[in-house]
Amino acid sequence: MKKVNVIINDQKISVPANYTVLEAAKEINVEIPTLCHLNLHDLKAVNRSASCRVCVVEVEGRGTLAPSCSTYVSEDMIIKTNTPRAIKARRTMVELLLSDHPKDCLTCSKNQQCELQSLAAELGVRHIKYTGEESHYELDTSSYSIVRNLDKCVLCRRCETMCNEVQTCGILSGIDRGFETVVGPAFGLPMIDTMCTFCGQCVAVCPTAALTEASNVRQVWDEINDPDKYVVVQTAPAVRVALGEEFGMEVGTIVTGKMTAALRRLGFDQIFDTDFAADLTIVEEASEFIHRVQHGGRLPILTSCCPAWVKFFEHQFPDLLDIPSTCKSPHEMFGVVTKTYYAEKFNIDPAKIVVVSVMPCLAKKYEAARPELSTNGLQHVDYVIDTRETAKMIKEAGICFRDLPDEDFDKPLGESTGAGVIFGTTGGVIEAVLRTACDWLTGESLEAIDYHQLRGLEGIREGSVMIGDMEIKIGIAHGLGNARKLLEAIRDGKAEYHAIEIMACPGGCIGGGGQPYHKGDSEIIKKRAEAIYREDAGKTKRKSHENTDVLELYKNYLGEFYGEKAKELLHTDYTKRELI
């Protein structure tokens, strides 16, 4: 890339010509405050709406101030980022935003996590000069996953970028004009009545509490404190590589043991692992895949672990409903197994069992309420709390998380293999399937099980694996926009794959809508992925079909892999849904 010379705050610097003033300033450690700007480099998500006007700077020769996030450098540009004029304008923009923002910071769910709050502090706003009418809208609590509080929206439009450009769902967009402008679904519909997948990526990037998760913390406490209830908790693989961030631990720290210890101290009756159910999912899905290959069934098979992805194809690709695997997602498999096999084994009334899922995901909250995911009138999963909510509970209980000893999961639904762990990142599910399918198809126990070609953060990846003399073509997509491309290619007959893995969130579950806020730093997602693979590499068992607890479950209860009982409990079907 051609370089250009610019002068920023009297310092000369040569930067690539495609740099914005903001990026150029970073090169010489000049921080320009931003609010609406978001650039998740590796995930290819950029919000450059230039709407907040907080990052304005002076550019010589330009009549008005320039937004540094979207002004590109040019040869001999002279920029001043910290003049009284720029700073005053910047502070005024924040004051104006605050003048139309509730002042309930102390009780706000984003207190100390709010980017507007930090910005006001950084700019030393101590007084709001211009006051006037404040916006008041009805809270949208219609969905199980996402709460929309438009009073707190600063119209940064990051959610729109995620929803429309990255996820291509098109649920959120600007409506109305002037002071009445809000971001929301068409016709002002509540979220539940839209084709929102509840992936929660809008929540993940919202700088304020305009979009937050629908919290289940209170309900879970009530269940824990109810002596008649037997409260079982399960934790998803992506949680253990991110939860530490909420306690100031280094990004990418694996906290499996401390998490288990903390959950035990919160008062859950049994601490189990969704990874166990991930292994269960793999043996089912691998069996289904082999069945389709050997019986001329519909290929490719698409993974079905991700509830946002499931809802996406139900709305957007209703003609392809026979492609996805019919396997329920791991935490749902866990729920049904707990309320049947486990309940019978330990003679506990299933109606008294409460299954709580600790997930990196907001769509899981919605999924838990899907009516078909129930047995004998009991939902498989009762509550889903995300990583952030879990951290809040631990903090509420006064547990010193960082100082906890490492503890193990309970038996018998706590054992897991490395294959179950890698479920948490893009490429992980299909790699786990291959580890099992290859062994089964070749009849050998293969040593080479690290499928490096399937890993990484590229939005769409493909690879092929030879099983005997058969070439298995694999497609992987993360982010629903990428998934759409892959699915359209399949629909148009332009792509031939045997198996496809899709995760709705960029990066997979590690980048889920319920994870600690990355605040625009995509390095965080990378480090979580590295931690997942470290955890896998450290496991003695790394193939799902080697999970002894899973094998015992089949032996004692389910019978055959992909057999009648397994199909009844572990598989589901899909529904055509409207486009709205």
Partner: protein, 488 residues
């Protein structure tokens, strides 16, 4: 006198030809310019002619038209577009509508000329749906032009083809801003985005695009036919040709006027407009629409062009010109325009969405009689910051009506804030109606006219207004035939 001052270039055919008959347009040299550029001139020569003519955008910005075309022509692309901006939205302005209704072929011809100049094959006319007659006539014109091969494939036997389509706007003022307009054509929300990239580089569907206003286009065929030199001989040093204004307000003769650049405001108001209605005093003229400013009497003799209007705190804009007499409250006028711009703001950027709303609220406070000294400082300070910080032209210019009235009519602001009076008697909260007992003969007309029955008194005896109940509607003031009611 007015006949001498006016010179019709953009409006040359309006009211002269039957706009629904292409032959009448052709009879007045219609499509000759297009024929000339396509068969005799290169695209570069066409652009150069327009550059030399000095024609500048008539939509508001005043950007040199030839230069704009040149930018788009230099950006290589297989597909390019010409857009005619017919989203006229200034209150009281109807210049573009008159051209579209009275001379639609001039716009079509000019678009094809621009298309030839930059290498575009397709043009869109973005027209507000509130202009049904203009739409009808454009549709007729397009159909007739296609029938005669004057737009469409291989024009004048050349390899140049040009299609024109209409695209209706829903009436958002901000869609007159070119990036918002392009968004709207693409089916997206009509809101501006940051430039660069300019439309000349990445415009409609990311292809090089030139957006020109209706009046700008209407000048182009004549410039081609009569030459750049002829056009540039009209006007001032920096602003060539003529400008159409929509004269309105407290002036005797209202309507469209087309005058050479450099004509003075006094000539327009007093010669063409025949002075102020009802023998009242001239107070100010508002130009540039909601983005412009109010010009006081002291500047009546300056020659109007882009630069001179800007230097006195207003702007050319698209040509709205509202004359105000002595009974106009300048604070109220500023509030009126702010009300308009806050309503029409797209809501995207903080400065415009919240900043202009706060300005409006301060004006409301002042006209309600609750203004404080601090409010005057705030208006100026916030107004300046909004101008400096807003994303698009709408936001950047929205404070102009306040800043210009504060500059020239500060005493009126002071009267509202410190004396709690509205000198023009417009702001109802600051107005008091009283009955002069000496003059009142007790005819009861005022009491009958009062909608809230707050006037009492016996027949043939002086009446009285109950001030607590009075809503300051002025009905009694208008009803009284004996000048017995005073307004203060």
């Amino acid at each position: 006198m007015s006949g001498k001052i006016q010179l019709r270039i953009a409006l040359r055919n309006c009211g002269v030809i039957d706009p629904e008959n292409i032959l009448e347009y052709i009879a007045r040299d219609g499509y000759m310019a297009l024929g000339k550029v396509v068969t005799e001139m290169t695209p570069e020569e066409t652009i150069n002619t327009l550059k030399e003519s000095g024609l500048r955008g008539r939509g508001g910005g005043g950007f040199p038209t030839g230069l704009k075309l040149e930018f788009a022509s230099k950006n290589k692309s297989d597909v390019k577009y010409i857009i005619c901006n017919a989203d006229e939205g200034d209150p009281g302005a109807f210049m573009d509508r008159s051209i579209l209704e009275g001379d639609p072929h001039a716009v079509l011809e000019a678009m094809a000329i621009c298309g030839y100049a930059i290498g575009a094959q397709e043009g869109f006319i973005y027209i507000r749906a509130e202009y049904p007659l203009a739409i009808e006539r454009l549709n007729i014109a397009i159909e007739q032009a296609y029938e005669r091969g004057l737009i469409g494939k291989k024009l004048f036997g050349s390899d140049f083809s040009f299609d024109i389509k209409l695209k209706y706007g829903a009436g958002a003022f901000v869609c007159g801003e070119e990036t918002a307009l392009i968004n709207s054509i693409e089916g997206l929300r009509g809101e501006p985005h940051f430039k660069p990239p300019y439309p000349a580089e990445k415009g409609l569907w990311n292809k090089p695009t030139t957006v020109n206003n209706v009046e700008t286009l209407a000048n182009i065929p004549t410039i081609i036919n009569k030459g750049a030199k002829w056009f540039s001989s009209i006007g001032t040093k920096t602003s060539k040709g003529t400008k159409v204004f929509a004269l309105a307000g407290n002036v005797k003769k209202v309507g469209l006027v087309e005058v050479p650049m450099g004509t003075t405001l006094r000539e327009i108001v007093f010669d063409i407009g025949d002075g102020i209605e009802g023998g009242k005093e001239f107070k100010a003229v508002q130009t540039g629409g909601p983005s412009g400013g109010c010009i006081p009497a002291q500047f009546l003799d300056i020659p109007i062009d882009y630069e001179s209007l800007k230097s006195i705190g207003s702007m050319m804009g698209s040509g709205g010109m509202i004359i105000m007499d002595e009974d106009t409250c300048m604070v109220d006028i500023a509030k009126y325009y702010l009300d308009f711009t806050t309503d029409e703001s797209c809501g995207k950027c903080t400065a415009c969405r919240i900043g202009n709303k706060r300005l409006f609220e301060i004006l409301e406070k002042i006209t309600n009689g609750d203004g404080e000294a601090e409010d005057l400082k705030k208006l100026k300070e916030l107004g300046d910051i909004i101008k400096d910080t807003s994303l698009c032209g709408l936001g950047q210019t929205a404070p102009n009506p306040i800043l210009s009235t504060m500059k020239y009519f500060y005493d009126e602001y002071e009267a509202h804030v410190f004396d709690k009076t509205c000198p023009a008697g417009i702001c109802s909260s600051l107005t008091k109606y009283e009955i002069d007992k000496e003059k009142c003969i007790g005819c009861t007309l005022c009491a009958k006219a009062c909608p809230v029955s707050c006037i009492s008194g016996k027949v043939r005896e002086p009446h009285e207004i109950e001030q607590d109940k009075c809503i300051k509607c002025g009905a009694c003031y208008k009803a009284c035939k004996f000048d017995a009611i005073t307004k203060s």
